[in-house]
Subunit: 244 residues, 2 copies
Amino acid sequence: MRYELYYWPTIQGRGEFARLVLEEAAADYVDVGREAGPGQGDSALERVLARGAKGRRPFALPALKAGSLVISQTANILLYLARHHDLGPDEEATGHWALGLQLTLADWVTEVHDTHHPIAGSLYYADQRTEARRRARHFLAERLPLFLGYFETVLEHNPDGPDHLVGKRLTYVDLSLFQVLAGLRYAFPHAMRESESVHPRLGRLFDAVARRPRIAAYLASPRRLPFNQDGIFRHYPELDLPAS
Amino acid sequence: MRYELYYWPTIQGRGEFARLVLEEAAADYVDVGREAGPGQGDSALERVLARGAKGRRPFALPALKAGSLVISQTANILLYLARHHDLGPDEEATGHWALGLQLTLADWVTEVHDTHHPIAGSLYYADQRTEARRRARHFLAERLPLFLGYFETVLEHNPDGPDHLVGKRLTYVDLSLFQVLAGLRYAFPHAMRESESVHPRLGRLFDAVARRPRIAAYLASPRRLPFNQDGIFRHYPELDLPAS
């Protein structure tokens, strides 16, 4: 089966979490927004948002079409892909542990987004810059260390060793953590540099994921869009303050 | 098995989504924060946050203890409870549709929270009131109609009829939508009153859930905390502006 991934063609955004799993699984997929040809990608995205499949319409993108199924919400897409491509835990208890971590990553991503858009997604950054500075200051001082510290201790306390968040082999949650760390390093290089030495396990997981053959090939390919100032992770130097 | 629900004892908050499912399932559960006795509830909550079970520590509450399992993140808890108490869809495709809706509700709840806390959860409302007015104005004008309209059309297009979001019988997603609507009516009575006539199916679902015998009994009991100014849904008249 050839999957169809529906996501905005010019940003990594939340679609990137799905792309990483599809790439690691070597799954057959079309990135519809990017590959449908000039002008056609956008209308395909609008069509899936307007109609979905069998009256099941996503509220937002990303969405994954798998046969007659349209699945939306990032964690939900990953859950499906992980189950079908052996990139999640097998047993129920560990599955819930992994999903809890993934949803915590999703919350973290939303908080990162809101550092540059604390008032409204419909406004430009320039129109909420004052509020963004204030929100980013609190995010870097309070939330970033809390999230980083949490995932560092999850690795530390994994009874199967600190190479993975869950169990002894790669799961979709490791791929998502890699992406969040990549985004944070782009958006907040100053604040993140300060944190590297205190969170060695996060850095090692990041490196190990980046070295996986399929992920390395993907990151080096034109399929991997660069981070930019339209996505979730944006680099505005005035927001990247020291954490203290 | 007696479940243990871990959540802050003085607010409905995100714990309420779990409580509604537990009540509808007539499940045996202890609301640890509220029932552990004076002073003991809080330390039990801190203990689960600090230790979890077998090194699996929740990032935040609510958390549900089910035997040796500690499950965190609201949608994850509901997924577990729905599966074990027959309050979710049976087949995989419909399960993903339901989870996608639940995660959309979760995003909506986060946006509601941020109308009164657009800068930081660590600050008082009074310290971010100016930003809150701005964010709430955008939320009511742009986001609230979008979410309400979306769930209205989900009901409208359910091939099994508009009484439920998914399929032909009650699922956990209906209970969560009920709770979001209840919270919005409390927080934004003015804005919500305007919307009632254009979203008749939402109102009918709300009424039908409130009339279910176990839910009605729960809502009338002291176990149902009233909405208040510490939870996610707060009523600040200055934020409850007309949507136009």
